[in-house]
């Protein structure tokens, strides 16, 4: 029984990592807590739902729709709304306005979707949704979750490659380290920020596709999943992709074993308690670099 819980925890941990990556990238580069990420995830789940029911696409193929749509949305939301705020708020170094803007976006998106689609739960059915694969010792695990974890891991690897090996990724990291110096090196900082926000939203889209394959789709789903993303963000440390993955796995395990020994309420309380303790004792995160 422990074995099964362990595997489930690890698989869910990978999937949670995918949800946290988007927040992590945006926070790491722009120091903005993107409160709307849960709602963006929900929107992409609805995109997947729409594409599979109307166009009869394979849910995994909808990545090709969801990613560009969310990237464009993020790029322009950053360009139109956040950029002026960002330039203004640099002066008083109080990013609360930015937090609230993203929170406002989240609330608006969630409730607009609620207005359009009501709170009826929807789900996608695929030929493989009821397939369970053997994971050893006679235990079985749902195939879609394993595929989801696989996609999440591939995303982590690709993102790491992008941030460390390509020019634009390096430019993003340079921007996050020292804005002025990056500007002096000829990096268009504001454009980097647009890209970073778009990238964060695109990562939300990937997480949305993964969740859409096995989770119930309702307009309120974003809050449930989104809160996990923030816990992982704080636990993993800002801007560190490896830390994010480790933190995701920890949260996945805590949730799985908390659910096994206690109940689902307790496991959620544990997650939040870890969050508060980490914030209090090590605000830079378990795996993040200490504050400069």
């Amino acid at each position: 029984m422990y074995y099964e819980t362990l595997i489930l925890g690890l698989v869910m941990g990978c999937i949670y990592t995918a949800t946290a990556l988007g927040v992590n990238i945006i926070y790491g580069i722009m120091k903005i807590v993107n409160w709307a990420s849960g709602s963006l995830l929900m929107i992409s789940m609805f995109i997947v739902y729409g594409a599979t029911t109307l166009l009869h696409m394979n849910p995994y193929l909808t990545l090709l729709i969801a990613i560009p749509v969310m990237f464009t949305f993020g790029y322009f939301f950053q360009h139109i709304v956040i950029r002026p705020l960002y330039l203004r708020e640099r002066a008083d170094s109080n990013p609360v306005g930015l937090l609230l803007v993203t929170a406002g976006l989240g609330i608006a998106l969630e409730n607009i979707m609620l207005m359009i689609f009501q709170s009826t739960p929807r789900s996608i059915s695929m030929p493989i949704s009821l397939t369970y694969v053997d994971i050893g010792f006679g235990r079985k695990l749902s195939l879609v979750k394993i595929i989801g974890a696989g996609i999440a891991l591939v995303t982590v690897a690709l993102l790491w490659f992008y941030m460390n090996r390509t020019y634009s990724g390096k430019a993003l990291r340079a921007t996050s380290q020292d804005r002025e110096a990056a500007q002096l090196m000829g990096i268009n900082v504001l454009k980097s920020y647009n890209v970073a926000f778009g990238l964060g939203c695109a990562l939300c889209a990937i997480a949305g596709v993964i969740f859409a394959t096995f989770y119930t789709i309702t307009p309120a789903v974003g809050t449930t999943i989104g809160s996990k993303a923030f816990i992982i963000l704080v636990l993993g440390g800002k801007g560190s992709i490896g830390g994010c993955l480790l933190a995701g796995l920890i949260i996945g395990l805590v949730e799985a074993f908390g659910g096994l020994f206690f109940d689902s309420y307790m496991s959620q309380i544990f997650c939040f308690a870890i969050f508060v303790l980490v914030l209090y004792f090590k605000p830079s995160g378990l795996f993040g670099k200490s504050r400069v």
Partner: protein
């Protein structure tokens, strides 16, 4: 000196006139519209109390639902299981919430602003989950997610704060709001207010001038939590049920912050004007299109984005600017 007296006289007259207008208007409204007006004033009250901590002291909290819920639960439990009048329960809840506020503040005020906000959100979530999962503490029934119903009494009963006629609720909340605004005004103009403003602006600089920022913030937190809890008791009496999903919800905390931010955070009358504008729009929209779920909060979200994007200091300063311009024109014309 004389001029000042005249000013206070005018203010007092305006206040009396407003109170009289309220009493007269409330006679003509039916319970349905009264409910809307009560909600508007209630959110003005909550946002004003929130403003003491987050506006004056600059500690941005998104977890004030904790205090609202504590207040509501304390007075309701005391009333339903010990037979103590909600009026006393209100104060008990307030004291409890203030104590909890200090307990939260002691470790958390050393955190940076964004982290403090995140902690408050997490604490509110923990509180919601705890209340949702606990059935009883000792002999006290909490009923987990189902919540506690307040048994209704007949007629208008002042002692247990239950009225068939909604206008009495309106009087109570207006009284509370007046007290809250008076406290805000007092804080703002006292030494504490200036010190708080200094801390909110630049903590290091304030501390270098011998301002004990930690104690000040704790004070602000206690006052803010007390007021919110008192309002929470009122809320419970108004809706006659203590429901964790309603009283400890993240949406409630967000709403307070949004109302205060839109009106003008850090100003005494900011939250009131915010509530008057935003809450009335959203309440009437919901009343008009009752069948559309989520419209209310969607309006909030959109207004928040627009507001922060175009007038980050809130609506009140803009109104004040126009009023001042108007008066200046008049003065010039009379000259």
């Amino acid at each position: 000196m004389k001029r000042l007296e005249k000013k206070t006289l005018i203010k007092a007259a305006v206040f009396v006139a407003l109170a009289a207008a309220l009493v007269i208007v409330s006679q003509f409204l039916n319970n349905y519209y009264l409910q809307i007006v009560i909600y508007i004033f209630m959110f003005a009250y909550f946002a004003s109390s929130w403003n003491i901590l987050s506006g004056f002291a600059g500690q941005f909290s998104l977890g004030h639902a904790i205090f609202i819920g504590i207040g509501a639960y304390t007075s309701t439990i005391l009333y339903t299981q010990f037979g103590i009048s909600p009026w006393l329960g209100m104060l008990a809840g307030g004291v409890l919430a203030a104590g909890l506020g200090i307990l939260i503040g002691l470790p958390c005020f050393k955190l940076q602003s964004t982290y403090f906000t995140l902690v408050t959100i997490a604490l509110a979530n923990i509180m919601l989950l705890v209340v949702q999962s606990v059935r009883s503490i000792g002999s006290i029934q909490i009923n987990a997610a189902k919540g506690i119903m307040i048994p209704s009494v007949e007629g208008n009963n002042l002692a247990v704060m239950q009225f068939v006629d909604k206008k009495y609720y309106l009087y109570i909340i207006c009284g509370l709001l007046a007290v809250c605004l008076a406290v805000c005004q007092w804080i703002k103009t006292s030494k504490m207010g200036y010190q708080l403003a200094a801390v909110a602006n630049n903590q290091e600089a304030a501390e270098s001038l011998c301002v004990n920022s930690r104690r000040l913030k704790l004070k602000a937190m206690a006052i803010s939590a007390f007021m919110c809890a008192v309002g929470g008791s009122f809320y419970a009496q108004l809706i006659m049920v203590c429901n964790p999903a309603r009283l400890f919800a993240e949406a409630l905390s967000d709403k307070l912050a949004i109302v205060a931010m839109l009106g003008g955070k850090g100003l005494v009358f900011g939250p009131l004007s915010g509530a008057l504008i935003v809450e009335s729009i959203s309440q009437f929209a919901t009343a008009k299109f009752a069948n559309i779920q989520g419209l209310n909060l969607a309006i909030y979200g959109i207004m928040l984005i627009v507001c922060i994007r175009f007038f980050p200091d809130g609506i009140l300063p803009i109104i004040q600017k126009y009023v001042r311009k108007l008066f200046k024109k008049k003065e010039r014309a009379s000259k």
